[in-house]
Amino acid sequence: MNKLLVFISLFLLWSCSVQEPKADRQIDALPYIYPDYIGVTIPSNIAPLRFKLKTDANEAIAVLNADTYNFIEKAEDGKFLFDESDWTKLLSHAKGQDIQVKIYVRQDGMWAAYKEFPIHVAKEEIDSHLAYRLIPPGYEPWYKMGIYQRDITNFEEKAILTNSQTDENCMNCHSFPNQDPKKMLFHMRAVYGGTYIVDGNEVEKIDGKVADKIASFVYPSWHPSGEYVAFSTNKTLQAFHRNDSNRIEVYDEKSDVFVYDLKRHKVLTDSLLFSRNAFETFPTFSPDGKSLFFCSAIVSDTIQMPRDYKSVKYNLCRIDFNPDENSFGTVVDTIYSVKTEGRSAKFPRVSPDGKYLVFTVSDYGNFSIWHHDADMFIYDFNKKSYKPLDESNSNDTESYHSWSHNSRWLVFSSRRDDGLYTRPYITYIDEIGKSHKPFMLPQADPDFYRYFIYSYNIPEFIQGEVKINSDLLINTAKNGTTKQIGF
């Protein structure tokens, strides 16, 4: 009797589980899936790459094979919603290898199999969290925005701070030293304006106005010691194209670079960074903290903005920084030259291992998110040469990017999905600096990006969750004292 019960239970279990169908015919093509995860390289600790089959079928089944482990998933309304625990097991078997994905579709009572495709699983893991700002990709006003964090090993998203808590003001430029979630900074604009520096459970608000020289702190980059932050100060304006695929032109009328000493509350700068004849912007420190990279456009007295917006192009430069003496070098090296290349560089970011520097290049200007021609380039410090990150670039905008702490993963924002809304893509950069096919940050619902009408802005890897209490941030904003800064 017991045996019969066991047999019946096993039979029922078997009959309820999804079986791999026998294909009546082969389709000589890869399946059309969204997001496109065919041939991408992923880390072994990423959330399930759920996708949707964009071909009509009565039924669809995916078979995922990795080494000795496989699992079969039946599509729900064309969506393959892989279970997190099955996916984690699959990735643990596939580390450093490939997952082979085979899709079967049933059409007119017949099963057909698409060509199998691989998902490469790298040996190196990725930082567990991603911080970003969600904002409508608008022109001038804003209403709802916030800085969020996503645990990318699963689908959990949490708000770090939203502007519904701060009178609908603007908040931007969140930044972390060495991908450390315990330390961060960001700015608030308009109401409660200032720069907020978080260190553990302490928050300091500093005034962005320094004498007559600095109106506000803008693009930040932490020194690896965590004791300095390089900032640019920009007088940024925008204009609107009457008829251009780049809807908006954001330009600077003035910009300079300086370093803020967190301990002494002093600003350090140099005439080479704070020049009247150049727009210096986008500073970033090298991982050893001895170099400061920045972008600089030489501007003559005849330049008039926005009239001459197309003629302003930025070089990628480097200058020594000596944190012991709080001093800068006397020579500026040019890594990417407008004279030789004819285009404009921005957003330099050095890999934490110090081997590579990724930057964005577009035809002109500095606000590349609105430039469809913007692409990422990688500079090899050993070879002293750069090349475009072809495997990660697309026909549309690639702009802001940041490295994981192990230098193997690069997250970047791209508008390739629909031409307007920025989405985070992650690419694997191997030992020789080659980028692999990137994947769009997976979501619980594969259709998520099709309906989501906010842009992912400034994606930054962090090695854990930001735990600062948002009430503390709000209280500092509303009731805290503002630290004044001097030279």
Binding site: P136, K144, R242
Partner: protein, 459 residues
């Protein structure tokens, strides 16, 4: 002795009558139903544009990816229900019907609670006032319909707790309703404590105490208290009625009416509004001239309508949402597609929920004209999941990746040609308009706007 007997008999008769009246369900039900019908007439007459207007600020989509995050989050179901209900405000009469039902449900709910807790009072006006309060606050754009849903659920739960035949059943209803209402609305603690109070009142000796007290209430003091209460309620009612009648004539209500007519493209409606002529303002003039432009008679009839100078052609943008959306339409009429898109996007983003289906439709049009088909497709897909914008949105699908169809379209084609003939960075509305007219001399509405500008600026 006989007198005392008569008095006792009168009192008993009075209490009998009052008990009968109190226990009758039909009378309050019918009374509130009649009031709801009268209220419907009133709301339809005075508030119909409030409902049309509210509808734009929510978007109910018939899709799982929209429903799932709402249903699976605490308090999300009330938003889901509020979105579902509000979508029907798109239809004529439905806003007034739904709000009359809100009144009916709220008033009846309060009535039955009051009847149980205060059986020695018959408090129809109190419950009427409560129902009316719900209707009044519903006309405020900043008020969330989620609160009305929450209120109705509370009333239902409290009635179930009070009228349960046994204490044990009341207890179960209290616990279950606290959890269910807490999940639906997010007000766990409120549901728990209000339920607790009502449960305590219904299960303790309080109701028995009331029953005893009821016997000492005489016809005289009953009538006196009831009259005082009625006077208070009638005063409040009168105040509420005046509030409604006054707000009917205020700027905000008129603006809602103009906005609704603008996005319904009811240009004749705008031109026939009496206050446009009686007390013209630059804002009204901007709507009026937009209506004339869309009827293609701005040049011919400019001077037949009251004008308020150049500002009446394009109302100054102070960053208000209605200004942005109005300007989007004005730019669109002038053939300035880029600026129309900018204003529509700004107006659309201004809304906390980033919905505004009519602004989204405008973004579909501008993106199709500019050849940004992927973004247009995104907005079309979203609108196709709605009940009332699905058809219109689907009609734009044929233009995706087909510039030749756009070229031949009566509305989009001319705008595409105008756009292709201009370039550079936009400066101000007049410079852009001059450029459009210079590059497209046959584009009549732009020319009409520019001629009107010259006429009005020379006056």
């Amino acid at each position: 002795m006989r007198m005392r007997k008569n008095k006792n008999r009168d009192s008993a008769k009075f209490q009998d009558n009052r008990d009968k009246l109190g226990k009758s369900i039909l009378i309050p039900f019918l009374s509130y139903l009649i009031l709801a019908v009268l209220l419907f007439w009133f709301l339809q007459k005075y508030c119909r544009y409030d409902y049309f207007y509210d509808e734009q600020f929510r978007m109910f989509r018939y899709s799982w990816n929209y429903a799932k995050p709402l249903i699976s989050s605490i308090g999300g179901i009330s938003t889901y229900l509020a979105d579902f209900i509000t979508q029907f405000y798109y239809l004529p009469y439905v806003g007034a019907i739904i709000n009359s039902l809100f009144f009916f449900g709220s008033a009846l709910g309060v009535f039955f609670i009051a009847r149980k807790l205060m059986p020695y009072y018959i408090v129809p006006l109190f419950s009427v006032l409560f129902g009316l309060l719900v209707v009044v606050v519903e006309t405020d754009l900043n008020y969330e319909t989620e609160n009305t849903i929450c209120n109705l659920l509370f009333l239902l739960a409290l009635n179930l707790i009070l009228y349960a035949p046994k204490n044990s059943i009341s207890f179960i209803i209290w616990i279950i309703s606290s959890i269910v209402i807490g999940y639906i609305t997010g007000y766990f603690l409120l549901a728990f404590f209000i339920g607790l109070i009502v449960f305590y009142l219904s299960s303790s000796g309080f109701l028995n105490f009331i029953e005893k007290y009821r016997n000492v209430v005489t016809p005289k003091n009953f009538v006196l208290r009831q009259m005082l209460f009625c006077i208070f309620c009638m005063a409040a009612f009168w105040y509420g009625l005046n509030f409604f009648l006054e707000r009917h004539h205020n700027q905000s209500t008129r603006l809602k009416c103009l906005e609704v007519m603008r996005w319904k493209k009811d240009w004749d409606g705008i031109l026939s509004l009496p206050y446009m002529k009686v007390c013209p303002t630059t804002l009204y003039a901007a709507y009026q001239n937009l209506a004339l432009a869309n009827k293609d008679v701005l040049g011919e009839k400019l001077e037949s309508y009251p004008q308020m100078g150049v500002e009446g052609l394009w109302y100054d943008n102070h960053g208000m949402q209605y200004e942005l959306l109005l300007l989007s339409d004005i730019y669109f009429a002038q053939g300035n597609v880029a600026n129309s898109q900018m204003m529509a996007f700004n107006g659309f983003s201004y809304s906390g929920k980033t919905v505004l289906p009519t602004a989204m439709l405008r973004l579909v049009e501008t993106n199709i004209i500019n050849g940004n088909y992927k973004v247009a497709e995104k907005y079309i897909s979203i609108l196709e999941e709605t009940l009332f914008y699905k058809k219109t949105a689907s009609e734009y699908r044929k233009f995706l990746n087909h510039p030749e169809l756009v070229e031949n379209d009566k509305v989009l084609g001319p705008l595409k040609r105008v756009t292709e003939n201009i370039d550079g960075l936009s400066s101000d509305i007049v410079s852009d308009l001059k450029l459009i007219v210079e590059s497209n001399p046959n584009y009549k509405t732009a020319k009409d706007y520019l001629d009107s500008y010259y006429k009005l600026s020379s006056e």
